[in-house]
Amino acid sequence: METSELQAIQECQQGKLDSFGALYDLYIKKIYNFIYYKTLHKETAEDLTSKTFIKALDKIGTFKIDQGTFSAWIYQIARNNVIDYYRSQKQEIDIEDVWDLSAKPFKAEVEAKMELEKVQKYIQGIPSEQREIIILRVWEGLSYKEIADIVGKNENNCKVIYSRAMSKLRQQMPLSLLLIFLLNV
């Protein structure tokens, strides 16, 4: 954890909650992106981002500095908000994110249909657990330790899941794509 981040957390826990502004600045973009990747809908992402930061502010006194990173903690809040949001949509299928819903009508219209299709081509076919770890690692650039804290698994487990998912994606990759790449090299 960065020392400035740690200091801001400690000050918040001392009651100087205006230091939360520093944490907000550090995480607003990351958390918004994370939620957007899972919803692909601007207003929904903004709403859930607001909820995430307000909840983090309310609960910062309960964050234990020695039991994990602030990054993992706030991502966990965001992740739970996303899960709660989809649950509140009363979909009967087992859902964890927008990619599983594309075949069915969904209340929150997905504005970036092209994006969704592009993403689906690669990662819809793998289990949501593997998909989440790939997103957190490749798109979010989080460490395995942070990923492990967010998804509630141990670090080695996350690494194995990640490598298996990549291996599976590699096997599923269309030959045409590989040819295009090779010709461009």
Binding site: T3, L6, Q7, Q10, E11, Q13, Q14, G15, K16, L17, D18, F20, G21, Y24, I28, K29, Y32, N33, Y36, Y37, L40, K42, A45, E46, T49, S50, F53, I54, L57, D58, G61, K64, I65, D66, Q67, T69, A112, E115, K118, V119, K121, Y122, I123, I134, R137, V138, W139, K159, V160, Y162, S163, M166, S167, L169, R170, M173, L177, L178, F181, L182
Partner: protein, 515 residues
């Protein structure tokens, strides 16, 4: 190839080396994954608006929860209770006390006294050379290891004993054979950085002038306190006048609070024992000692009741080294169990625990009485104000392992003699307390130095003296110095001491000091 892709490939190969044979496909895959990352553009107006809302809420919450350790501890009800049974109540009129010590006033008077760490970053190497010998060069330190240096008999401090003279067969005490313990670590040491932050503890608060001025208005009848000029309140004591109550000493100058049992109100029947039978009746047995989780529960309840803010402190650790001693005891029935056991809540700096030089976590310490199931005191409640400065730290794994082998900080080791090997487990990265005398200020300063703490894997029963943890400070100047400086080894005297010589020394102390 982008470095991002290279990194992702490298870690994949680390997890599963077989994937390397599919590198081309993997590169395509990772590129595709990266390029398919949705373009999440946060709306700047939303970002600004949310920030405003979050900070407005933060401000409101701050106003609602102005309750730190001091204010919680010194809320009016508790103070009034203390005053009710204490001597101050006889002197100070309650209305005045009410106005002096209302939570609002205390908050205003003691804004500086917080027990959570604060940090002030200063320039690199700001605390000077951290080696104990400021002028020490490897050569000068090494020279202390020379044959001449080592042969020098200690002198001073009441008189040493010369090595010349005849030797009589009547020895004072046979010198024990010293066995070196070698602490071996054969694992990998990762993530060593060439520079790390060192923390120096700064002073507490100067005392509070406003409180002193208000107290000075009290008419004691004997002394006119108001005559004191430029005054500040530095210390005060609060007692709980009840059975099993506490004495709380607040030292504003040092920035520390200690809580001890109010011994006048702690009734221990064993204190009235006058014979062996009675003492044995209250002697602690192994099954009297609660489990560590029960001891921690007692400490936690106390911390909660007295509002100790432990948010910058780690999971509690019970000081139960007696268990090791007990397991090693030759005659367990003669073993004396401790009357009180300490629970330590380790201070956390940069997400890492702080250790004392012996390798035990250090921070806030709460002592629990085994027979009474009660907390007898709390210590280490000090202001945690630090300056921090970057220092060069060692990345030389061989040197770190070598220093660990010798027992780390305060290890006992000589190149000669018998050796016994002990294995070390993977180290924890933390900080170790390090004390250095500041010549200019004529005082000892406390620093927190980045360190590796290696737990001893298994303590052999037959070992003479052994540590539970081995601490290796990582600051280069400290490590280098300690690797070459002569270690305090209990070397037997070259020649045995005879009683006649001792008598002579006592009669003529001056003459006994060599050179």
């Amino acid at each position: 190839m982008k470095s991002e892709i290279k990194n992702l490939l490298a870690e994949l190969y680390e997890i599963d080396p077989k994937l390397k044979s599919h590198e081309k496909k993997l590169i395509v895959l990772i590129e595709e994954l990266l390029s398919s990352r949705p373009a999440a553009q946060i709306d700047e107006a939303f970002k600004r608006q949310l920030r405003k809302e979050v900070l407005a809420k933060a401000k409101k919450l701050s106003a609602d929860t102005q309750e730190n350790f001091i204010t919680k501890f010194m809320n009016f009800n508790k103070l009034q209770y203390a005053l009710g049974g204490g001597l101050i109540a006889l002197i100070i009129a309650i209305p005045l006390a009410r106005s002096l010590f209302s939570p609002k006033n205390i908050n205003e008077q003691l804004p500086q006294l917080s027990f959570l760490p604060t940090f002030n970053t200063v320039k690199d190497n700001a605390f000077g050379n951290l080696a104990q010998l400021d002028e020490a060069s490897p050569e000068s330190a090494a020279s202390a290891l020379s044959a001449e240096g080592r042969a020098r008999t200690q002198s001073g401090g009441g008189g040493g004993v010369g090595s010349s003279g005849s030797v009589a067969p009547r020895l004072i005490y046979p010198a024990p054979e010293f066995i070196n313990v070698e602490y071996l670590f054969d694992g990998e040491i990762e993530a060593l950085e060439p520079q790390s932050l060192v923390y120096k503890k700064t002073e507490g608060v100067a005392g509070t002038r406003q409180l002193a001025q208000m107290l000075q208005t009290v008419n004691l009848g004997l002394v006119n306190l108001d005559a004191a000029r430029n005054s500040a309140l530095q210390q005060f004591t609060i007692i709980e006048d009840r059975d099993f109550g506490y004495i709380i000493n607040v030292d504003l100058k040092e920035g520390s609070i200690s809580i001890n049992e109010n011994y006048e109100r702690w009734d221990r029947p064993q204190n009235r024992c006058r014979d062996e039978r009675c003492f044995n009746q209250y002697r602690i047995r192994e099954n009297d000692i609660q489990s560590n989780s029960e001891i921690i529960k007692i400490a936690n309840q106390f911390a909660e009741e007295y509002g100790l803010n432990l948010s910058s402190y780690g999971e509690p650790v019970v000081g139960d080294s007696w268990r090791i001693e007990y397991a090693r005891a030759q005659n367990p029935s003669d073993f004396y169990f401790p009357q009180a056991v300490s629970v330590v809540y380790p201070l956390i700096i940069d997400g890492q625990r702080v250790f004392d030089p012996s390798g035990f976590p250090t921070g806030i310490q709460i002592s629990v009485d085994i027979l009474l199931d009660k907390v007898t005191g709390a210590y280490g409640l000090t202001v945690q104000n630090y300056e921090r400065s970057l220092y060069d730290t060692s990345t030389d794994v061989d040197k770190i392992k070598e220093f660990a082998k010798r027992g780390g900080m305060y290890g006992y080791y000589t190149l000669e003699g018998k050796k016994e090997e002990v294995k070390l487990d993977n180290p924890e990265r933390g900080f170790v307390q390090y004390y250095k005398y500041n010549q200019e200020k004529s005082k000892t300063e406390t620093l927190l130095v980045p360190a590796l703490i290696f737990p001893v894997a298994e303590i052999p029963k037959e070992a003479q003296f052994i540590k539970q943890n081995v601490v290796v400070p990582l600051v280069t100047s400290i490590l280098e110095e300690q690797l070459v400086e002569p270690r305090p080894v209990p070397v037997p005297l070259d020649e045995p001491v005879i009683l006649e010589q001792v008598d002579q020394v006592q009669d003529e102390p001056e003459a006994a000091v060599e050179e």
